[in-house]
């Protein structure tokens, strides 16, 4: 699992990458009440909005950690947005991307680097 400074996580399996947000991000958002996942087939560049999560107070974008095409989304989140708070780094994935360039993943933080980054916040 790799991490971004915007608190997304990404896990690569072959050429398919699963994307979610970290436990830290879920805690900061507070109670999630709505999730908007992307359309299958959407092509995103790293840093572009991939999904939207809404807490009681505000809407927040979830950004694509790397380039790719959306091949699957987590439909269950629309009925159970609270999953984002309950199990952010496993069950509450937002989308699976077919990635164009696996090398992009190497530029992201590993768990140790991400936790060191959290300590600076």
């Amino acid at each position: 699992m790799r991490f971004t400074k915007d608190h997304e996580w990404i896990e690569l399996n072959g050429d398919i990458a699963t994307v979610g947000i970290t436990a830290y991000a879920a805690e900061q958002l507070g109670d999630v009440v709505f999730v908007e996942t992307p359309e299958v087939g959407k092509v995103v560049k790293a840093g572009q909005s991939l999904a939207v999560v809404e807490s009681v107070k505000a809407a927040s974008d979830i950004y694509a950690p790397i380039d790719g095409e959306v091949v699957e989304t987590q439909a269950a989140l629309s009925d159970h947005p609270e999953t984002v708070n309950e199990d952010p780094e496993s069950a509450a994935w937002f989308a699976k991307l077919r990635i164009a360039d696996p090398a992009q993943i190497d530029s992201l933080m590993d768990r140790d680097a991400y936790e060191a980054f959290l300590d600076t916040l």
Binding site: D31, F34, V56, K57
Partner: protein
């Protein structure tokens, strides 16, 4: 980069920090937006039990006559007439121990602020009125009132006082354990009570739609009262996040969002706060516009919307089913009680009837939004029998 202005702290700031509050800047104050429970749990707690809110950022003040006669009724009439120059309420006929919700109006009938006015009970206090204005508008309101009434009356901010709100169906039972006589108050009544060695100014009012009290106490004594109330297992602290979702469900407008200097009380759906005597006399700022809107209908009105899909936030466009943009959301979010998004918006009166089907535009996409009667969640005030 601008240097950050130091945020003010209420006397309860360290109590919030100990309760693991998450803070946010609000109207110049470092305020708790939520505690460890989180917004949804806090919201539901206030609806089911009793929530405790630090609202010390708001602006309590006392307005008193410069030259009282000593005749209580004459002095009340004089101080009431002075403040009536700025507001559309009938303060002269306000009874002792009663509170009124009213507005400071500009010359065009726009709302400069909404505020509470309390007439004290005691004979020797009839030369004064107690006001509570909004946090963000406090300096401007105080300057306006002070200047407009200069010579007749003097406004003194009660800056050394904290404000605590206790709200919810169990609030009365909780507060009665400290101040039994507080149960004599009905909704929109207020009085002073002793608690231990302190004076509490207590009104039966609030900003959640629930029964409850708003309590003013000296800064030094505030932490003791806060802690004492939290010792009751029915009470939990509630942050500004749930305060906002509670007032939204109750259909109560928030100044700077649902109310501003361009919006009249008629447009805002607050005509209940316009006194018949004052309307007949047309002797308040902006009376011409307000009477015109009452006769002919305003151009826009505030409505409640139940929204399907993502929450429609402040600034979201409201459109008709054929795509014409006809209004805008001024407050919107998720209703924990109804488990769905709700919003307040301004739309033309022809589209304001409950049942009207509109769309809220969220991230470019139209989502169904149906006009519903306000409040979204029924009020449960302790009204006078």
């Amino acid at each position: 980069m601008q240097p950050e202005q130091a945020l003010l702290k209420t006397p309860l700031h360290s109590a919030h920090a100990e309760a693991k509050a998450r803070f946010t800047p609000f109207a110049g104050y470092d305020m708790p937006v939520q505690y460890a429970d989180g917004v949804l749990t806090e919201h539901r707690w206030a609806r089911e039990h009793a929530g405790l809110f630090d609202v010390s950022h708001m602006g309590p003040a006392v307005l008193h006559l410069n030259s009282p006669s000593g005749d209580p009724e004459r002095d009340h009439a004089a101080i009431a007439a002075a403040l009536e120059q700025l507001v559309p309420a009938d303060l002269q006929r306000l009874k002792r121990g009663r509170q009124r919700y009213t507005f400071l109006l500009n010359a065009n009938g726009g709302i400069i602020d909404d505020l509470m006015v309390l007439r004290p009970e005691r004979d020797d206090r009839q030369d004064r009125l107690f006001l509570v204005v909004n946090a963000g508008t406090k300096p401007a309101d105080f300057a306006l009132i002070g200047q407009a009434l200069a010579g007749t009356a003097t406004l003194t901010p009660l800056a050394d006082h904290a404000l605590i709100a206790l709200q919810g169906p169990e609030a009365a039972a909780v507060f009665a354990a400290l101040v039994p006589q507080a149960l004599d108050l009905s909704f929109m009544q207020g009085r002073w009570f002793g608690w231990e060695s302190h004076f509490l100014s207590v009104t039966r009012s609030g900003y959640t739609g629930e029964d409850g009290f708003e309590i003013m106490i000296d800064n030094e004594a505030a932490p003791a009262l806060w802690t004492r109330l939290l010792e009751d297992g029915r009470v939990r602290p509630i942050g500004l996040g749930a305060r906002d979702s509670l007032r939204l469900e109750a259909g109560l407008p928030l100044y700077g969002h649902d109310l501003d200097e361009s919006i009249s009380p008629v447009e805002a759906g607050l005509t209940f706060a316009l006194s018949k005597r004052r309307l007949a006399a047309a002797d308040f700022p902006g009376a011409a516009r307000i009477l015109g809107e009452l006769a002919d209908g305003p151009e826009r009105v505030r409505v409640g919307l139940k929204v399907q899909g993502a929450p429609a936030r402040e600034g979201a466009d409201i459109a008709t089913p054929d795509g014409a943009v006809v209004g805008r959301v001024t407050s919107g979010g998720f209703s924990p009680t109804l488990s769905q998004p709700i919003a307040l918006a301004f739309v033309p009166p022809a589209l304001a009837a409950p049942g009207t089907r509109l769309n809220a535009i969220v991230r470019g996409k139209p989502q169904p939004a149906e006009v519903v009667a306000l409040p979204f969640v029924p009020h449960r005030y302790a009204r006078q029998p």
